[in-house]
């Protein structure tokens, strides 16, 4: 595991149709310690996905710096695993081959990477689906594969971009509980983007509220782990924190 440092990050881009510059991220600084789980919440258009895309290396930053374990980020790389909102599974690969893709890129031999993939699939209760194609799975199962695929590559930092936004409410709760369970086991450094306040508080050690391309507040979450929805929903701290964050997001 490694730490993630974001310093004075800025993103402006050129809109060819308007012929002007647009600012998506104004000035964001954010530190995530090794093994820390941080949620970033904010209304749509606040620049949270743009930040993740820059950390992932999909978009170049126009200002500031991003460091993973002290090393500056240049382009996408296997040290930062990404879980996409739209899953981004390769439709032409079976579940097993999707999960084994990262190890394959590292040159891990076929037998070994299948073993790794099966181990991680078992972790998410997906062993039975190994030989199916993504198209043949439900949305919830697809996103389990998406999470497991990123984990199986053993990244230093895990970046999650509203990963549970496109699955139904019941499945979402199950996935959130699974994620906290797996996270406790593996202790990854996680940057989790969401617009769902309850989700942000439930999962994270810290919740960062973003507004108009700036960090508005940074709130520690001290709920005990392991966290299970049945208990957390009743928790007074959870209710107070959620209300506080929700208030800020709506004011943002």
């Amino acid at each position: 595991m490694k730490s993630l440092e974001i310093r004075n990050l800025q993103k402006t881009y050129f809109d060819p149709y308007a012929g002007t510059k647009v600012t998506a991220v104004q000035d964001v600084s954010l530190d995530i310690r090794e093994g820390e789980f941080v949620s970033v919440v904010g209304p749509s258009g606040c620049g949270k996905t743009t930040i993740l895309n820059m950390v992932a290396g999909f978009l170049p930053a126009t200002g500031g710096e991003i460091r993973v374990g002290g090393r500056p980020v240049k382009g996408p790389g296997a040290d930062r695993g990404v879980v996409f909102q739209s899953f981004a599974l390769f439709p032409w690969k079976t579940v097993l081959d999707n999960v084994g893709f990262g190890p394959k890129m590292r040159g891990v031999p076929k037998a070994e990477r299948d073993r790794i993939a099966r181990e991680y699939l078992a972790l998410a209760g997906l062993s039975h689906a190994a030989d199916r194609y993504p198209n043949e799975l439900s949305g919830g199962m697809q996103q389990r594969v998406g999470v497991v695929r990123a984990l199986a590559n053993d990244p230093d930092v895990l970046l999650m971009d509203e990963p549970f936004a496109s699955v139904d409410a019941q499945t979402r709760m199950t996935l959130q509980e699974e994620l906290t369970r797996i996270w406790q086991e593996k202790q990854h450094t996680v940057l989790f983007i969401t617009h769902d306040v309850g989700e942000a508080v439930f999962l994270a050690d810290r919740v960062v509220v973003l507004s108009k391309g700036r960090v508005m507040r940074d709130i520690p979450v001290t709920l005990p782990r392991p966290r299970v929805w049945d208990e957390v929903t009743e928790d007074e701290d959870f209710k107070r924190l959620s209300a506080e964050v929700l208030h800020m997001v709506r004011a943002a």
């Binding site: 992932a56 290396g57 999909f58 382009g75 996408p76 790389g77 296997a78 930062r80 695993g81 990404v82 996409f84 739209s86 981004a88 599974l89 390769f90 439709p91 032409w92 690969k93 893709f101 990262g102 394959k104 890129m105 590292r106 194609y133 993504p134 198209n135 043949e136 695929r149 990123a150 590559n153 970046l159």
Partner: protein, 272 residues
Amino acid sequence: MATAELGAARLGPSRAMRRVVGAVTFLLPLLCLFLLWPVVTTAFDVNPRVFPGVGMVWAALVESVRDGSLFAHIGASLGRVLVGTALGILVAVPLGIAMGVSSGISTFLTPLFRFFSVLAGIAWIPIATLWFGYGFGAITFVIFNAVFFIVTYNTLLGVSAIPMRLRHAAASLGAGRRAMLTEVLLPGALPNIVTGIRTGLGFAWRGLIAAEMIATNVGLGYMLFVARDFYRTEVIVLGMIVIGALWLLIDRLLLAPLERATIERWGLVTRS
């Protein structure tokens, strides 16, 4: 495991039966048509110069098989299609991928390739015969370019239609340039490439027949066209049946299964 095998074994014969029944119901209308043919030709006493009887076509088949001319024509035609198509695909796919990777380049070039894929095939026959003379070169060139432009255009479209997030996903899992090509761009564009090959080959096949009527002295198109000079309708009809059967074989046994195995299983496209 054991139950699954048992289930498969139990399903086996009934599935085979269903296949047989399917084949029979498929062939039945064709058989009816075939039986109707001699009835009509004898009942209306059709002049063999207008339309041949079954016996005559059969005799033409036997004769052309015996003297080997039928296989010579088929061989010449298939050889040209094979060479032209293989060359076309080999050049078109890398080119299409290279151009499709950048969205700027691909939107810029799309109208160009659309224009040329509209022209592809038959319209090149006159200039091809001017450049290469009458014969193998000109015909293969016509097939090549029917396949080339359409496959390039489709590859270009296919690559540019791959969602950016898949390229991002591969990059963040550590894929380099080479892996990006073989693991993402090529399989992602494959449905379009296969569709392109199917369309291109359809045009190429027509181009072949047309070109053979004009520009050669062997091949199925030539066989038809020469027979016309002598009013040998039985050879013409035989040639038409051979052409139809060959194309059905190529399309149904080679192209359609390829499309099903990739595209439909991956759930990428809902095609007819």
